[in-house]
């Protein structure tokens, strides 16, 4: 097993499958009366969050606690970061406190790679800028596999703000490793430059893609990262790239609708789609805990 999880590209097909299989076994824990395993007793995991997050932070915390690891949560607000402490100095502090794993979210792409060079413990990338979010890709793959039975040969449409989406990047890498076919759909301004060198197809027309998709993954429009006008108006974006009930009917019967959250209801996804039986949005959150337990176990469960 690898020492850090920085990018979905760190995982080859057997390792990624091992993570998903381990997560499937660990998922049984959620149904038990004692939701706790002694596996990581005495290990310390630090949640180092420089950006806001609900789902991911809580999910990692729950995963670590279910494996009996000690969790220290750090958020940039209310810490010495507001006094101007650098990432390196914070890292050295964590290092001297003996963190076995550091889960980092940072607005700068590549921050986890820097961190991995400074500390001895394992580093897990929980989202760095517009770069990657590998555990989200793993939980998405897990959700697809548990709903549709397989990953190889699936057609996955990733729709919307691909440009700012670390979820999309990690999903493209992982799904490609596991044999699924990815189509990126969005307005030309929100597809990254150089996307033609990625192992994907691209389209500007959502309606044309839907009838052959097994999975539609809607991305949040990340207005906080937009310093420019990428589309004329919200209304126009929603008309062309939003998933509403009429569009959902174009999907094959077995197809599922995913969203990494948080959603802008009425923007990229209509409320009735988000709450429909095809939607896996709530499932994704539950699966996130199992997948992160699997990652922490495989990174920390072995040699100390």
């Amino acid at each position: 097993m690898i020492r850090h999880l920085l990018s979905a590209a760190d995982l080859d097909a057997p390792t990624a499958t091992l993570v998903l299989d381990t997560a499937a076994e660990l998922a049984g824990l959620a149904g038990r009366s004692v939701k706790k395993l002694p596996t990581l007793r005495g290990r310390t995991m630090v949640n180092l969050f420089y950006e806001d997050s609900t789902r991911t932070r809580i999910s990692f915390e729950a995963a670590a606690k279910r494996l009996s690891a000690d969790v220290i949560t750090f958020s940039a607000k209310g810490s010495s970061v507001s006094k101007g402490e650098s990432l390196k100095d914070t890292a050295l502090t964590l290092q001297s406190m003996g963190a076995d794993a550091v889960v980092i979210r940072h607005s700068a792409s590549g921050a986890p790679y820097q961190l991995a060079g400074w500390i001895d413990g394992s580093v897990v990338n929980a989202g760095d800028g517009t770069h990657e979010h590998p555990t989200q890709a793993l939980l998405d793959a897990y959700t697809m596999r548990s709903r549709l039975g397989r990953l190889s040969g699936l057609t996955v449409a990733i729709v919307g703000d691909v440009l700012h989406s670390r979820v999309a990047r990690s999903n493209v890498l992982l799904l490609n490793t596991l044999g699924a076919n990815v189509t990126l759909v969005g307005p030309p301004t929100l597809l990254p430059v150089g996307v033609d060198s990625w192992p994907v197809k691209t389209s500007y027309d959502l309606d044309a893609v839907l009838p052959t998709a097994d999975v539609v993954m809607m991305l949040r429009v990340q207005r906080e990262r937009m310093d420019d006008a990428f589309f004329p108006s919200q209304r126009e974006y929603s008309r062309r790239y939003g998933l509403d009930a009429a569009r959902m009917r174009r999907l094959p019967d077995h197809a599922i609708v995913m969203h990494p959250g948080p959603m802008n209801r009425g923007m990229e996804i209509a409320a009735e789609v988000a709450d429909s039986p095809r939607s896996t949005i709530v499932e994704q959150v539950a699966n996130g805990v199992s997948v992160r337990m699997a990652v922490l176990y495989l990174l920390l469960g072995g040699l100390s």
Binding site: M1, T22, E25, L37, T39, L67, Y297, G301, L303
Partner: protein
Amino acid sequence: MAYPPAVEAGGKQAAGKAVITGPDLTRIVDRMAHQILEKTDGARDCVLLGIPTRGVPLAHRLAGRIHAFEGVRVPAGALDITLYRDDLRLRGARAVGHTDLPPGGIDGLRVILVDDVLFSGRTVRAALDALKDLGRPRAVQLAVLVDRGHRELPIRADYVGKNIPTALSEQVRVRLTETDGTDEVRLEATA
């Protein structure tokens, strides 16, 4: 599961000496099934939980023989102990096996743990810890195909297929038809 792991599938066939062969192994399992029936009042309120890998097919065989002898259906399942091992830090992270409990759980039942080889006793200790998190059985018993000695913990088996005195330098390799294509127990010198 034996400690160290008993068998890699497809290992060398010729090494060491055979201590139990096919028909003997069947007779031993038959005898253990009878002993379980005798000691548990006809296998009432029992559940057989095999410890992966080779404890699981053994548990199913015992359940099958108990049914053949007295017509009692004893549920057989699997109890994976990987996440409860005390040597995780000493070796690499291992793949997690499958735990398969009867639908009603194990509360109030007599759980019979089934494993292929009893050695240090650490696997059984881990299994007891795992059981504690899964429910509250009325009693826990242990059935092993081979007891090779060298206990490191105060643990003993209730049902023993065969006591095989060994040196620490030897390995007991159990092969079962379900997992390895043949029934056999061999004693091998560690390389």
